[in-house]
């Protein structure tokens, strides 16, 4: 009886899980079908012939790899930039006393409310002023508009979780404030930093609107807009290439996710729970 119940529970849960995962499975299956099989009515549930030609075409005939490189550079730079700023900013907000600190923290929350569409034109003008238009740097700066508040907020709750005594001990032991930050706080903050870095990376990797407006050359275009512009046009929608591109766009996230899943959960644990 108990076995049956267990079996039932597992079956039920796994069906749900597979339903959730189905779009991703379908994405992979579609990307493996030859073009002719794609428009079969009704569709074939499993590919009759498996082909990697779409992947091959993407890699050899399109700027996919350039977009990919751009996305990697963009997401990595954004992540490093935001996490460094966020970590020292959070240190300041949590462990220092000065006037206006609370107000600042509230303002950070307020910046969540800003929709990207509001900021985009002034941002673009500024990028031109700074001589950054049509560069990855402009996207890095633009991505900080949403990534930095989030990172700061996450890191702040992580920072609050590092016992104050540790820093005090380091100070008494002869460290300066920054010395204590480096020797004692950073190592303690590491899981938080990793998790924040992951979230930032994901946000940046997936961003669409800024990338659409702020850059316009294949040399600096990231994957999101690159793939859309390249494969959806007035003359064709290359579903098979789109699905292959989708799979490859998600690959780095799969890899990162597989290795660092526990950090992500921890990040939510600290960030979301403590608010």
């Amino acid at each position: 009886m108990r076995i049956l119940r267990k079996l039932g529970f597992n079956l039920f849960t796994w069906i749900l899980v597979l339903l959730v995962a189905f779009p991703l499975v379908w994405m992979i299956l579609t990307s493996l079908k030859p073009q002719t099989e794609l428009f079969r009515i009704p569709p074939t549930w499993l590919p009759e012939t498996v082909t990697f030609e779409h992947y091959w075409r993407l890699l050899t005939e399109t700027p996919f790899l350039i977009y990919f490189r751009n996305s990697v550079v963009l997401a990595t730079t954004t992540t490093v930039f935001v996490v460094v700023l966020g970590a020292i900013g959070a240190y300041s907000l949590v462990r220092f006393a000065y006037r206006g600190r609370e107000t600042l923290a509230t303002l950070v929350l307020f910046t969540y409310l800003l929709p990207s569409v509001v900021l985009i034109i002034p941002l673009y003008l500024m990028m031109v002023e700074l001589g950054l238009s049509n560069t990855l740097a402009s996207l890095v700066l633009a991505h900080t508009t949403f990534a930095l508040p989030y990172a700061l907020w996450l890191l702040r709750s992580f920072m609050e979780g590092v016992p104050e005594d540790l820093e005090s001990a380091a100070l008494v032991d002869g460290a300066s404030r920054m010395g204590a930050f480096r020797d004692v706080i950073l190592p303690q903050l590491l899981p938080g930093i990793i998790s924040t870095a992951l979230f930032t990376f994901i946000l940046s990797w997936n961003e669409y609107l800024y990338a659409l407006v702020l850059v316009n050359s294949d040399a600096v275009r990231p994957l999101t807009t690159g793939v859309m512009t390249m494969l959806i046009s007035a003359f064709n929608i290359e579903w098979s290439l789109l699905m292959a591109a989708s799979v490859m766009m998600s690959l780095p996230l799969i890899v990162v996710f597989a290795f660092l899943q526990s950090y992500l959960t921890r990040g939510f644990g600290a960030g979301a729970v403590k608010g």
Binding site: W26, Y98, L253, V273
Partner: protein
Amino acid sequence: MATAAHAGHRLERRYARLGVFLIAPTIVVFSLVIVYPLLAAIYLSFFSVYTPTLEGEFTGADNYIRLLTNAAFWNSLITTLIWTVGTLSLQIVFGVGMALLLHQNLWFRSLARSLVLFPYFVSTVVAVLVWRWLFNDLYGAINHGLMQLGIMDMPLDWLGTMPNAMIGVILVGAWKYFPFVVIAVLARLQTIPEHLYEAAKIDGAGPIARFFDVTLPQLRSVLVVIILLRAIWDFKEFDLIYLLTGGGPVTSTQTLSLLVYQEAFALNEMGQAAAYSIGMMLVMLVFMLVYIRRTAREA
């Protein structure tokens, strides 16, 4: 109260200066990429501005008067609310449910967790593409799956007519974002002490009573935060809806973000767009403050 006459302040002041120094880069970046554009947007909202040239006339509150009197803003606001409430409640219900299931002793639990959390991490572009392909009228798996199962006999137009389009968008939004709820709830579930359940069991509570009497109160603090965060994000969601339906049919899925985009870049009315976006922010602010006050009072 801290005057220079007091002894013992130099070190404190030095620390305070260091603190300010450390937050300074963040403040600079914030001013540069958030505060300044925001002020510029507010400034623009008092002009009638042609987007490509940013030239135009000062029109005072005209844009705001049009916002108040024109149906466009209010219709989009209602659409936005329907979308937000719809997708958010699905996210919460499904997210909490899935978290409870994944908290149990499941076969291959970590694989199941990875699969469930994955939609949150794929790009919106990818998610939209996959779903548009699934929803495709001629070759889509959903229509044919449902037809093969005998649930319907004609392909359904998922994204082109109402109410299907709104349902479709809400469904995809829920699919994309419910893992966020799962992760947060899962993290919290792991911290609920087992003895609470044992106590409830001894008191004769069944699984359902245990959920409502033990689990839910323990999840309250998390849910308060997640609902706030997700509500804000859903409210200003652009990519997903823009790429999925573009706001159609007619304007049935044109949320405020899309309205702003359309006004700014299709109609080249930057000033009006800025006014809409300021209005949108004010609405969000009001909702947020009410929400925070209410949940704070209940807590």
